[in-house]
């Protein structure tokens, strides 16, 4: 089961700053677990940022992104109350999403 996500979207001068935290192991497939066996590749591949339902950023990432990924994006303009949604999809087909209003 996916751990929590957390997002903060705040108005800055001329843009909206979106900072999103995701719980994910981002396994590289090159690490041994406590049982001595290799832990298989397990990482987020896609992430999507939407504003009021419209996609504005689409990211493709690799296992080189650090464990528990943290991303910042910037959106043009923006207004208080705009609904920001961030979702991810990993190589095992697991997904998670979070949304919050611009503060």
């Amino acid at each position: 089961m996916a751990g929590p996500m957390k997002m903060r979207a705040t108005l800055a001068s001329g843009y909206t700053d979106v900072r999103v935290l995701m719980s994910h192991p981002m396994e590289t497939g090159q690490r041994k677990g406590p049982d001595g066996k290799m832990i298989p590749l397990h990482f987020i591949q896609n992430l999507t940022v939407k504003v009021n339902g419209k996609t504005v950023v689409e990211g493709q990432i690799s296992q080189a992104v650090s464990r528990n990924p943290v991303f910042s994006f910037r959106l043009k303009g923006g207004a208080k109350g705009d609904k920001i949604e961030v979702s991810w999809l990993d190589n095992k087909g697991e997904t998670n999403r979070t949304e919050s209003a611009v503060a």
Partner: protein
């Protein structure tokens, strides 16, 4: 020598300039890592665990008294360790959380301490809870208990312990944390007996630790120091561990708590 004299004469402004000149080569790295830290994820899980009913009494920890009265978490971490009348001893935040698991939830010490220190794949309950409680003290001034005789005893013991040469390799805490400008490999070592070094450090523990890819507590930090000192293992919540924590926190008192932090 001349700079020292000047620094004294010019007071604050030059002292600040000197500090900047001696800034760690990792300062930029540490700043950027702290800004992009996943530490809040641990606070979120910790808050859920704080509210989760469990143990034989099927109770949450929401009524836990961390020193400000039952259920008051805001600012509590910044006032620990301190003396607790109900147990007639000094407790740091983890020792107190353990106490609440046992009394409020009715869990045995063995059960509550089955796994005090977790790992990246499975952080421990104590780690999550510590993250939540610490996060509720962000912005509060650090003011550990210093008035009760037992609090002063604890400080005095901690200070002595800091200098005890022990373990297979004859180390004391001061072996690594006693002199300015020293490193273990590339890790810079703060002189923890000095407030100016203890403050930024204690104001950011517990912390997300990049080397472990997970959240770590102060009791883990001390435990791990003793491991590397090649001693046997200190008991969780023992007087020794609480005293060391008390000594370091009192040395850091007056700092504004800004954790939970993010470390190398």
């Amino acid at each position: 020598m001349r700079t020292t004299v000047c620094a004294v004469a010019l007071g604050v402004s030059l002292a600040a300039a000197t500090a900047a000149a001696q800034e760690s080569q990792f300062a930029q790295y540490q700043k950027m890592v702290a800004e992009g830290s996943p530490v809040e994820l641990f606070e979120l899980v910790g808050e859920e665990l704080w509210q989760k009913k469990q143990g034989p009494k099927n109770a949450s920890l929401e009524q836990c008294d961390l020193g400000l009265g039952p259920g008051r978490v805001k600012g509590a971490h910044a006032r620990l360790p301190r003396y607790f009348k109900d147990v007639d001893r000094v407790m740091d935040v983890e020792t107190r959380l353990l106490h609440c698991m046992m009394t409020l939830q009715g869990r045995s010490r063995e059960d509550a301490l089955k796994r005090p220190f977790g790992n990246a794949d499975k952080p421990s309950e104590m780690e999550y809870l510590s993250a939540y409680v610490a996060g509720q003290s962000r912005g509060y001034k650090m003011s550990p208990g210093m008035s009760h005789p037992q609090e002063q005893e604890s400080y005095a013991l901690g200070k002595k312990l800091f200098y005890v040469r022990t373990g297979l390799w004859d180390f004391s805490c001061a072996s690594c944390h006693g002199e300015e400008g020293k490193r273990i490999r590339m890790s810079e070592l703060p002189v923890l007996s000095k407030p100016e070094a203890a403050r930024p450090l204690m104001a950011t523990w517990p912390a997300y630790r990049v080397s472990n890819s997970t959240f770590k507590t102060m009791q883990w930090r001390l435990n791990n120091c003793f491991r590397q000192m090649r001693t046997p293992e200190p008991v969780f919540g023992s007087e020794t561990i609480n005293a060391l924590n008390m000594y370091l926190t009192v040395t850091a008192r007056g700092a504004t708590y800004s954790g939970p932090g993010t470390k190398r």
